[in-house]
Amino acid sequence: MSETKFTLDYQRREIPSKARNAGLVFTALGLLIVVISYIVNPERTAFNSIIGSSFLLSIGLLSLFLIALEYLAGAVWSVVFRRITEFLSTVIFVVPILAIPFLLNINSVFHWTHTDTVAKDAILSHKSPYLNTTFFFARLTFMFLIWWLFYFIFTRNSKKQDSTFDQALTKRNARFGAVFMPLFAVTITIAAIDWLMSLEPHWFSTIFGVYYFSGSLLAALAATTFAAVRMADLDLFGIKIKSDHYYSLGALMFAFTNFWAYIAFSQFMLIWYANLPEETFWFMNRWEGSWKYITLGLIVFRFIVPYILILSQPSKKDPKRLKLAAIWILFTHYYDLYWLVMPNYSKSGIAFSWYELGYPLLCIGILLLVFTMRAKGNNLLPVGDPKLKRSIDFHL
């Protein structure tokens, strides 16, 4: 059998500068609001900073996860979208900057940092070997170093392949993917516990890491889908994205919508059934006063609406519908994080005003900016990937 070498006749196209400009506007506006709100009310801004940085971390880290997963599973269909996930995963470098407001105000956000309260509290002093300021920052540094390291490994090899067409690089990335996976599982659990769960350090829930993972994976998939549909609309790939590609993205979003609901409900039902005061108070805080509507809204917005939106097969193949679903899922992920974080700031009822607008705008702006900056001077398709031809011809 003769060796046929596939080379794609690829012409690099640039993302229109409109996207970058929009990113600049959003970033500037968001930054302005964040800075003002930090001056006016640093505590509230710190809570918002947890939401914003967890949101960006979701997209960045889970995009990295998708890259590793693709290499590890030898997935073919997603190769055409891999550059999108690579660009998106770059935001993990911005996350620490967004986290500054709450890292500076760690004392007003996490009450396990007050050593005198911890000493008087039996549960907190039991948890203090893990929940103390020194170890918290040590973990933070460790996690980000790991994520950054693997980001460099994956993207460097991927980029190198564009010019060398070296198939061994794919294999090398697959090996690193295998190393990354268990580290990822541990670090995302730590991140979820440290940033979100330890806001209420008395609480117990062993499923919380998975809860954050399930929602975050949805967010990363939604961001990827949105970028894919948008770039195909503008014909930036130079190839035709088939309905089979869209279907796969849609099916994943649908599957993980169900997965999120499954995990969220499992967490709730076990706590509801056992009815132990040290667990139920977490849900009670979210079921009293006006928070009840946010909780009910979470079920409707995050599960029922996307479930109906992308249940049928034609809707998963329709780029317009997928784009709508992607935007919606990104919104609901932010909503979910708001539901996780804000009841700790305002126990009495919903807290929503202009303070809460800064971080969403900043997140959109940063996503657009980082994406367009990374796309500049990079191929939008991994042209050297040995699986690219099969990915372009992908059939369900």
């Binding site: 709730f268 509801w272 059934y273 009815n275 097969q313």
Partner: protein
Amino acid sequence: MMERKDLYSITALFDTPDEIVNAVESVQREGYTKYDVNTPYPVHGLDIKMKLNPSKLGYFALVFGLTGTITALFFMWWSMSKDYPLVIGGKPFFALPAFIPVTFELTVLLASIGTVLTMLFFYFRLPNLSHPLHDTDYMRSVSNDKFGISIEAGDSLFEKDRVNKLFERLGAKTIGEIYFDEEEKSKKPKIFEPKFIIFLLLTALIISGASYFTLNKMLYMAPFNWMVTQEKDTPQSHSKFFADGFGMRNPVPGTVARGAMPYIFKGQPDLAGEKLVNPFNPDEKTLAIGKKKFNIYCSPCHGNFAKGDARLNGQFPNPPSLHSDKVRNWSDGRIFAVITEGQNIMPSYAQQLTADERWAVILYVRALQRAVNAREDDLK
């Protein structure tokens, strides 16, 4: 000897998936509609080339799934909170979170079973088990390594020569003819096939036998019965822990059951009349309860209007009328003492009536007394 046979279809075999896709395109272009393709594995893009409509099976799945959801929710609501409400773990009767897993299971179960049955009956035409293509060399080839297409004789454009020529032109490796099996054609498919019935009976027997064994035998064998013997005291068992050797403990002295009010005037009806006060007002709800309970427990002797003229009159020492001056001048507490402890031949009604109901009955008796001995101003 020439055997007369009905032609079902003409078949062609190809070696590669590309050839079969090409063949489908040509057959489609020629305008045939009644044809089918058989391949050893799913060939990508074939359904688009064949212009097949998307399967309707999904709608059946949706309908069956929703049936499961509604059945589960309705039945749990009806049994758990309507027909036979039970308090379980202090949860509400309609405990939706507890019902969700069951609802989910039944939705999935009915959706999958319903979809498979729909497929078997509507698409595979069960109980018809035969198809002309079955047990032919063509079928043996396409389930091994060949790609086959078969144009049915029922097609309006079907002409033997034309189809043969088309297949030859497409470069088919083998062209064959498939006939209806005379025996199969005349045989009507039966649901009540003896073999099938026997199969069903055997299945039922095995499943019920296995269930019986599991639930009645296996659960009482080690290790499944380990939970039966536990290191704990059961009622009536001897305790090695407590000094008095009893497994059951007495409640702490002074313990009062929830909602129960101890009666402390035993044998002192006059003191009770002095100290006890009716905690209720004669409102509509209380009087309704009092009337109901009076008619059940008091009226057989005292009569419907408390005049002591019930049908038991003459069979026992006659019960007194409650309209006497004595009873009318008694305080509510004094009457309460009589109902609670009994008096003369009248037994205690403490078992039949709760304290609250006794007070309600007393208020009703007051109403009856007032009806007979109305005050001046009542008549105005």
